[in-house]
């Protein structure tokens, strides 16, 4: 399937997931196990995406300017900067690290 196919399928799955929540009985909300799984999935996926985008280059692990972006973003978040500022700080840090000779 082409990338377009996967994009449209991802959209359809997203709408279906949200809609499903409106169809199931509200009682399911009381199931702590299901809530735990959904919560830890969200955290695990975001952590995995952060790690991959920082260290992966294809199938190898590298340390490059993106690590500076991670560190700078963490400092910005710790200082309670808004999301857009955090993103800008990340870009700036990676750019500066490259100017200073990082890969």
């Amino acid at each position: 399937m082409s990338l377009w196919g996967w994009i449209l399928l991802a959209g359809a799955v997203s709408i279906a997931t949200k809609f499903l929540g409106f169809l199931v009985p509200a009682k399911l909300l009381d199931n702590p196990k299901m809530l735990r799984v959904a919560g830890s999935l969200t955290i695990g996926l975001l952590a995995a995406l952060t790690a991959v985008n920082t260290f992966a280059s294809g199938q190898s692990l590298v340390i490059d300017a993106r690590l500076a972006a991670l560190a700078a973003a963490a400092v910005a978040l710790w200082l309670r900067a808004p999301f857009l500022a955090v993103v800008a700080v990340g870009a700036l840090a990676a750019g500066v690290a490259r100017l200073l000779g990082a890969a």
Binding site: I15, T17, L41, S60, A69, L70, A73, A74
Partner: protein
Amino acid sequence: MVLTQSPAVRVALSVAIATGLYGLSFGALSVAAGLDLAQTMALSLLLFSGGSQFAFIGVIAGGGSGISAMSAAALLGIRNGVYGMQVNVLLRPSRWRKLATAHLTIDESVATATGQTDPDEQRRGFWAAGIGVFVLWNLFTLVGALAGNAMGDPARWGLDGAAVAAFLGLLWPRIRAKEPAAIAVVCAVVTLLAVPLVPPGVPILIAAVVAAALGLAGLGPATEGLEPGVEPYRTGHPAPTRGDV
């Protein structure tokens, strides 16, 4: 009641502007990941869930396949199904409104609605935030994608660093307690161990399986991680926890 006097609507508008603005970064990162303008807009219009959209392009940017990207986006979107249950209980939309209500069920609209106690205000907050974010998110995605196209090489502008920061920014508000932090660390380590062993994109799905197993084993957070990653009421009265809903 005049809409501009509704506290929920006022909060919703500020949330919509803040969230819409970061559509800029999604648009720019999406074209940097190799998607074209129409594909980028299709994600914002149809998928319409920031975390899942970033996940999709994050996998593609790393050289992952379409099916890995779609799977990561779908798994990250599971929390929207849980939000759907909450919104259904809260707003009780009529049968014909359900689909529109469902599409607008995202972190921001849920957080705005559940932060109110009066049912009318909850309704206003949900729709104002949902529609406001939808319009601005798509508008700024377009602007970001056009800007990204004009910028050329993403590494030169540190856009790959922006992606790292974006994911950390999405994760950060969800890891205030010890257990969620442990899950995040375990999943990050598992992902990195898997990178050299399996094709790009697959490590993220392996981490998802580990995260789900941790949750099933009861190690997961009872509420943390499922709360919307936004706090529209941070400056005013404190946002209620899930237990208050």
